[in-house]
């Protein structure tokens, strides 16, 4: 099974989604030096192609290894295969919906529903097994998160670390709206109530020929 230590079904190196063991300064340096902060620690050439779209293509550097990788692996499939599809359309619909929310961990920003990587396929099968086994949607998600960590969720849960993310639109809207309100009131008042200075009045009188 996937998730067991040391062995993944596709022969990929095991990936720990939470490899946060170093201090922040070190990580900042790592990030600044342009190392893949987003990409998992898998060497690019050992990744199976996702979606057949060459998002993993790296140019000339990994040329030879890429040839080897492609020659040694069969052609990629696209996302869901017919043999995975559940008989019951209601359950299948739930499975599709859940797969759309789970991330393919070896791809770039693809859901397991879109990806054809082996790991994504295993996760899809896993989700379907749990659904057939009688789990609710929440239980399936909880189970997957317990094995792979929060990283697997494309829509992060509301928690201490994501509160800034989730509240950002509302807070900005309120703050921005307040600023606009204050500004429009201040402008209206200062604009309307500002009386003419005596010199200006005198000039107007002169112009009007009074």
């Amino acid at each position: 099974m996937i998730g067991q230590k040391g062995q993944t079904p596709s022969g990929l190196p095991a990936i720990s989604p939470t490899r946060g063991e170093t201090g922040w300064s070190r990580r900042l340096v790592t990030w600044l030096s342009g190392l893949q902060a987003v990409a998992p620690t898998v060497a690019p050439y050992s990744l199976p192609p996702c979606g057949g779209d060459g998002r993993q293509a790296r140019g000339g550097l990994y040329y030879v290894l890429l040839i080897l990788a492609v020659v040694l692996t069969p052609l990629p499939a696209l996302a869901v295969n017919p043999d995975e599809v559940l008989k019951d359309p209601v359950l299948e619909e739930r499975a599709r919906n859940l797969s759309g929310q789970l991330r393919c961990m070896v791809c770039q920003n693809q859901s397991i529903d879109d990806s054809n990587a082996e790991l994504a396929r295993d996760l899809r099968v896993l989700v379907r097994e749990r659904i057939v086994g009688g789990d609710s949607d929440t239980q399936v998600i909880d189970y997957v998160v317990s094995r792979y960590g929060e990283f697997v969720l494309l829509k992060p849960r509301l928690s201490g670390k994501t509160i800034a993310l989730w509240s950002m639109p509302a807070v900005l809207l309120v703050v921005g709206g307040f600023c606009v309100f204050v500004m429009s009131r201040r402008r209206t008042r200062s604009g309307v109530e500002k009386p003419l200075t005596p010199e200006e009045q005198a000039r107007i009188d002169a112009l009007l020929g009074k």
Binding site: G20, W24, W31, G34, G59, A77, P156, A164, V180, S184
Partner: protein, 662 residues
């Protein structure tokens, strides 16, 4: 030899850019016309040098000169000529050259069309453009030089990434860059205004055509990229909320806001400081996008190569320009005289609402894109922020904005009549609901939300026509008179109506395809039949085929409706020989605005093959709407009021307009 000349032209360009970035600004400070006059001359020279250098690189690609490292890495002698040429910008170095070429092109256009600008403003604007040019020239020369030689020269190149071997590469990057980089002009105008410490409605009038042009190209570029991803990536999606897509979408959102706030500033002298800030932010987002895509912080098909030194270099450019502009803003903005008052219920009030929501949407996309990076850097925890998050947050923000769109043009400046506008909108909303539910009924149901979504699309389309209808006064005046009035409306009125209508068309496409799309995944053997969207497809079998630089397996399908054959379609899986890289070439059939999308999966052991068939109703509306928006942009751009240089035929009215706004 010619390569070295091209390389040298780039170095010479750096020297020219340095002159253009120092002397004119001194001239503007001292009021020295000779120094200021240097700016347009140097700018045009700069463009010529960069254009020459770029053509040399293109020539090297066209003749497959593999003694150039860059050509060897990204080209192949067997590639069709069109891909050899587009391959110039299908890699990191070349795409930075295209960036630079676009930048110098815009600078040159400002120099040529800006004859009627006040001398100091023009000198300052061109200087700021030159600063950006210097930064990118340094970047190219020191970290991404496309003119590196290989000795001995290899006999054959390594081929271009197969995904990029498509006509899309010929259109998408140039259009996108025209948009992205076009906003640099707005940025330069903003910084120049801050340097001069004065700003007025005339400033907004000069900036608006550049904003409009950049916005129009960016719209086209994003739409083109989306369509390309749709047909090339082989799973029929058209927007993935990929960080790279977000990087181009953020300047678009901010640019849309800028377009509207510049309007308020031009007409009402309000929102001056905000407009300047927005102009800075829009280009900052373009730079940020360049950084995210080019530094390798994000990995995708767009990140051609990852090299730490490049990432740090772009980060430095980013910090310098964004940081510098904001510091300048914080220092100078309080000195700018803010003017103009507005009532909440007025056209400017509606435009402020537009700006508020668009800015918050931009911030939401920005936060969602960078949050995982920042969180991991600060705490080491990894989370993902993907499509489900953006669909929810961005979608919720868009609903009030879209509902408010038709109100804007119907409200008068200064003090609008909300009740009057409501009375007009109410007819439109009724018609839209009827149309929405009619289509809903024709589709035999679906979620009720779909009907409301469709109604929203129709509401935007009808709403945009309403403005024209009332301005021409069709209901009250005799048709002939009203039609004459209609013809006499300013082009900008048609432009904005078209842009808003295009938005409605896009909304229709998005709603229709997300709610009524059907997908079939099945294993097919020759002779088998599948049904999708009222059409039936018969699989006729696979055939091997050989292209210039790939081999493929093509599946043939005969498509019929009610027993009559209407079309046939090929769908294939390709292997590009040089890189041994597989791609899927989907078979796409267009029926009106809807499409049938057929894509091949794995062959099975028993001789069958996995086939995926999608019926995508009204999908072409998504990009069709963008095309309508783009036409709107061009129509508006051709308005006499905005035409660059048009007022110069009279005796310098500009001088008057640029009185210091103390």
């Amino acid at each position: 030899m010619i390569i070295e000349i091209g390389h040298y032209a780039l170095v010479l360009a750096l020297a020219t850019a340095l002159i253009a970035s120092i002397l004119p600004v001194i001239g503007a400070r001292r009021g020295d016309t000779a120094l200021m006059d240097l700016a347009p001359l140097a700018t045009i020279t700069l463009f010529c040098l960069v254009a020459f250098s770029f053509s040399v690189l293109t020539w090297a690609y066209a003749v497959s000169d593999f003694s150039l490292l860059n050509v060897w890495e990204n080209s192949h002698s067997l590639m069709p000529m069109v891909y050899k040429i587009t391959g110039v910008w299908g890699n990191h170095e070349g795409s930075m050259m295209l960036w630079l070429l676009t930048l110098t092109l815009f600078s040159a256009l400002v120099a040529i069309f800006g004859r009627n600008l006040p001398d100091t403003l023009k000198a300052n604007v061109l200087t700021v453009q030159a600063w950006i040019t210097v930064a990118f020239l340094l970047f190219i020369l020191f970290t991404s030089n496309p003119f590196m030689r290989l000795d001995p020269a290899p006999a054959e190149g390594q081929d271009l990434n197969p995904v990029l071997q498509d006509f899309g590469l010929a259109i998408h990057p140039p259009l996108l860059y025209l948009g992205y980089v076009g906003f640099s002009v707005c940025f330069s105008f903003a910084v120049a205004a801050l340097i001069e410490g004065r700003i007025d409605a005339a400033w907004a009038r000069w900036v608006r055509p550049w904003t409009l042009a950049a916005w129009t190209f960016l719209t086209a570029g994003i739409a083109m990229g989306s369509y390309w991803a749709y047909y090339e990536l082989g799973w029929g999606g058209w927007w993935f909320w990929d960080p790279v897509e977000n990087a181009s979408f953020m300047p678009w959102l901010a640019g849309t806001a800028l377009l509207h706030s510049a309007l308020v500033m031009e007409k009402r002298e309000a929102l001056k400081i905000w407009t300047v800030l927005l102009a800075i932010m829009t280009f900052s987002l373009s730079l940020l996008g360049t950084f995210l895509v080019r530094s390798g912080v994000l990995t995708s098909v767009h990140a051609f190569a990852t090299d730490p030194s490049r990432g740090i270099f772009i980060l430095a450019i980013l910090s310098f320009f964004i940081g510098g502009a904001f510091v300048l803003f914080a220092w100078r903005a309080p000195q700018l005289k803010s003017g103009g008052l507005f009532a909440p219920i007025s056209r400017e009030g509606a435009l402020v609402l537009n700006n508020l929501i668009l800015t918050v949407s931009t911030a939401t996309v920005l936060t969602g894109t960078l949050y995982p990076l920042v969180l991991e850097t600060l705490t080491g925890e990894k989370i993902s922020v993907g499509a489900p998050f953006f669909n929810l947050s961005f979608g919720l923000l868009m609903i009030p904005l879209l509902l408010a769109v038709p109100f804007g043009p119907l409200l008068a400046w200064k003090r609008g009549d909300l009740l009057g506008a409501l009375q007009r909108i109410y007819v439109v909303a009724g018609m839209a609901l009827v149309a929405g539910f009619a289509f809903f009924y024709a589709q035999n149901g679906g979620p009720v939300l779909a009907a409301l979504g469709l109604a929203l699309g129709f509401y935007l389309i009808f709403g945009s026509l309403t403005d024209l209808w009332y301005r021409a006064n069709f209901g009250k005046l005799a048709f002939k008179i009203a039609f004459a009035r209609f013809k006499g409306l300013p082009r900008s009125a048609f432009g904005s109506a078209l842009a808003h209508m295009g938005l409605g068309v896009t909304v229709l496409g998005i709603v229709a395809v997300t709610t009524f799309e059907t997908e079939h995944v099945l294993e097919m053997k020759p002779g088998m039949r599948a049904e999708a969207g009222g059409y039936s497809l018969v699989f006729d079998g696979l055939r091997e085929a050989i292209g210039p630089n790939f081999t493929e397996e093509r599946g043939h399908f005969t498509v019929s409706r009610n027993g009559a054959v209407v079309a046939d379609v090929w769908s294939s899986k390709r292997i590009y020989t040089a890189r041994r890289m597989p791609t899927t070439e989907a078979g796409i059939l267009t029926f009106g605005a809807s499409q049938l999308y057929v894509s091949l999966g794995d062959p099975m052991t028993d001789g069958g093959i996995v086939v995926r068939i999608w019926w995508k109703p009204w999908i072409l509306f998504i990009w069709g709407g963008a095309v309508v928006m783009m036409i709107g942009g061009f129509v508006s751009l051709s308005d006499r009021r905005l035409r660059v240089g048009a007022p110069s035929r009279r005796a310098k009215p500009v001088k008057l307009a640029m009185e210091p706004a103390e």
